[in-house]
């Protein structure tokens, strides 16, 4: 595998801003009726996506969920092709066939995303099996939310990953809400990492508001996987600042809770951290401005692209 140079702090901030700017743009376009479909945004969860992917090489595999714009961007996906896909354009990653929930950017190791909760975890195990079988040095990551913890394939996968010592890192983005209800309405278990210990899978719970803490935790897990130590479980405590999907008023959340999480906003927090460690405020502002410009350009180009071509609709069902 191609070891990639570790991201600098400013590059990490830049990725987070790219995601934030991208997601806000999607929200804006959705509100304006320029993109359609079922859109799930991960604003507030950038620390998890960027922290995790900062620990990975380009050739490592990532499997996403219905809420995976952030994961794809963190892994290095092309913004214009991504936006084009979400907007149903022929130039999108999947030629408009996948949309927001089924992103794929294999050239940067973002294999696929699923609209079925926990549906991607077995897939990630399979990619890890490929690495083992071919004696490749790649690690697979499956992102999933806390809602996946109540589903059968999640538990089946923990067993099989442990049994076969697969090089897979299970990254649980525990944002405390399963669709529209608090996790406590779905299970008596508060920390999904507890399940991992049943199978002797090393597990750690980290603060998703701290991007470097996520990166360090995942780095340890990735090193373990590359070293033949099998799977790891990283539970990232995080929060989505938007509703379950665009259009969800999210009335199930209290105002104080929202305010608290806004204070913990991983992007602003990391920017503060960099400012405190001596990075000049203007260069931090430049990072945000550059991200917003890139996103604006990508969105403009994507929306100017032609819509998906009906003539191609029967293609790609079979090779």
């Amino acid at each position: 595998m191609t070891r990639t140079r570790p991201l600098t702090d400013l590059e990490i901030l830049a990725r987070m801003w790219l995601i934030r700017a991208f997601e806000e743009k999607v929200s804006e376009l959705y509100a304006a009726g320029k993109v359609a479909g079922l859109i799930h945004l991960g604003i507030g969860q950038e620390g998890s996506a960027v922290g995790t992917c900062a620990a990975l090489g380009r050739s490592d595999y990532v499997f996403g969920t219905h809420r995976s714009h952030a994961h794809a961007i963190a892994k290095g996906a092309d913004l214009r092709r991504l936006m084009a896909e979400i907007a149903g354009r022929s130039t999108g990653y999947c030629k408009g066939k996948g949309g927001s929930m089924h992103i794929s950017a294999p050239e940067v190791g973002f294999v696929t995303a699923t609209g079925v909760v926990a549906g991607n975890i077995p897939l990630a195990l399979g990619a890890a099996l490929t690495s083992v079988t071919r004696n490749e040095d790649r690690v697979s990551v499956a992102f999933f939310g806390d809602g996946a913890g109540q589903s059968g394939p999640f538990h089946e996968s923990l067993n099989m990953a442990a049994l076969w010592k697969l090089p897979v890192v299970l990254v649980c983005e525990n944002n405390g809400y399963v669709e529209f209800s608090p996790l406590s309405a779905h299970t008596v278990v508060e920390r999904l990492a507890d399940y991992a210990s049943v199978y002797s899978i090393p597990a750690v719970t980290v603060d998703g508001g701290d991007v470097l803490a996520v990166r360090d935790a995942v780095t340890e897990a990735v090193d373990r996987a590359r070293g033949g130590g099998g799977p790891s479980f990283v539970e990232v405590l995080t929060h989505r600042l938007r509703g379950h999907y665009e259009g969800d008023p999210a009335r199930y959340r209290t105002l104080s809770e929202r305010e608290e999480w806004k204070r913990k906003d991983p992007v602003a927090r990391f920017a503060r951290h960099l400012a405190e460690s001596g990075v000049p405020p203007e260069s931090l502002d430049d990072v945000e401005a550059a991200a917003r410009t890139r996103v604006a350009v990508a969105a403009e180009q994507a929306l100017a692209d032609p819509p998906a071509d009906p003539a191609g609709v029967t293609g790609d069902v079979y090779v």
Binding site: F63, K97, A105, T112, G119, L125, G126, D316, V317, Y318
Partner: protein
């Protein structure tokens, strides 16, 4: 003279030759290291090692998903589902993931996956171990489906399925496992084949029902009725050209399968044949299939359930006006 071997041995040989020629082929399934319940993987662990013959937990959903993920990233996995009935546990991964990944990604990913399933009525196994569920797989765009009836096809089409870059459901009939036949290696890779020539009625079938169709043709030949028997082999893609050509000559057709008639493959074949031929057949195309009921465990009930050569003979005679026409191809029950 080619060797005559059992169907199950042909399956084993198909697996073996594919694994020999392509190191990316792996097998996942319950107890496969020990040969599986019917011996399809016997000896393969010795030859190819535990790294390529993987014994899985009883976790059909995750095993199917893992194989899909492995297929999308460069392996050519074969999943053994011990009974097709248990494919229900893996349906989400099969239908929502394996079948759709290639399309959803606009062709960025490919899923060269083979799913071996074993099913059909044989041995009084009851309602959870006797089903024929191919219509579900046909109804899932993105899946290919193959159902060989003879050892030669069993070996050859398994190799073809494994080499295919699409997910293929490879359907084995438990009741055929101990039947013998020639394996030449020259069996055609695609399409349906004419197993017997005849001028009066076309019988379209697949899997074990082909044997019943041939037996029915023998019976009817004694009365001077010539049946053309077509073995579809591949259900998806479905090659009806030989059937259409035959129907053009005979003007009459029976579609026979072991699965429940309602919503079955027969309906699709009838709809296509009617559309292809207009309605210029001499009689309606008859369906022979299982009645609208689960499989009863009792021998008498199982026998009453499973369609056989007698049902095909009856349907053919019905088309020829020698008996009251069977209007709905069913033995009763609600639809």
């Amino acid at each position: 003279m080619a060797a005559r071997i059992r169907y199950i041995e042909a399956v084993r040989q198909g697996l073996q030759s594919s694994m020999r020629s392509d190191p990316s082929v792996i097998v996942l399934g319950e107890d496969v290291r020990y040969g599986g319940p019917f011996g399809a993987t016997k000896g393969l662990a010795d030859e190819f090692g535990k790294g390529r013959i993987l014994d899985t937990p009883i976790s059909e959903a995750t095993v199917m998903g893992m194989a899909t993920g492995a297929a999308a990233t460069g392996l050519r996995p074969i999943v053994e589902i011990m009974f097709v009935d248990f494919a229900t546990l893996a349906m989400d991964q099969l239908v929502n993931h394996a079948a759709k990944l290639g399309f959803m990604t606009g062709g960025l990913l490919r899923v060269p996956l083979t799913v071996r399933v074993q099913g059909g009525v044989s041995g009084r196994f009851g309602a959870h171990h006797s089903q024929s569920l191919e219509a579900w797989f046909l109804h899932t765009p993105g899946l290919k489906v193959v159902a060989p009836a003879f050892p030669g096809d069993a070996a050859r089409l398994l190799e073809v399925a494994i080499a295919d870059d699409n997910p293929v459901v490879y359907m084995e009939h438990r009741g055929l496992y101990w039947t013998k036949g020639e394996v030449t290696g020259n069996e055609p890779a695609s399409g349906s084949v004419v197993r017997r020539r005849g001028d009066h009625v076309t019988i379209v079938s697949y899997s074990r029902m082909v044997h019943h169709a041939l037996a029915a043709a023998d019976t009817l030949a004694a009365d001077g009725i010539g049946c053309e028997v077509i073995d579809l082999r591949w259900l998806a893609p479905l090659d009806l050209e030989p059937a259409v050509a035959s129907l053009r000559r005979t003007g009459r057709a029976v579609v026979a399968h072991e699965a429940v008639t309602t919503g079955g493959v027969g309906a699709e074949v009838v709809a296509r044949l009617q559309a292809a031929r207009g309605i210029r057949t001499r009689a309606p195309i008859a369906r022979v299939g299982a009645p609208f009921a689960p499989v009863g465990a009792a021998p008498e009930l199982e026998d009453a359930f499973v369609p056989g050569s007698g049902d095909i003979v009856g349907a053919v005679r019905g088309l020829l006006g020698e008996a009251p026409p069977r209007t709905d191809g069913q033995k009763g029950g609600r639809t």
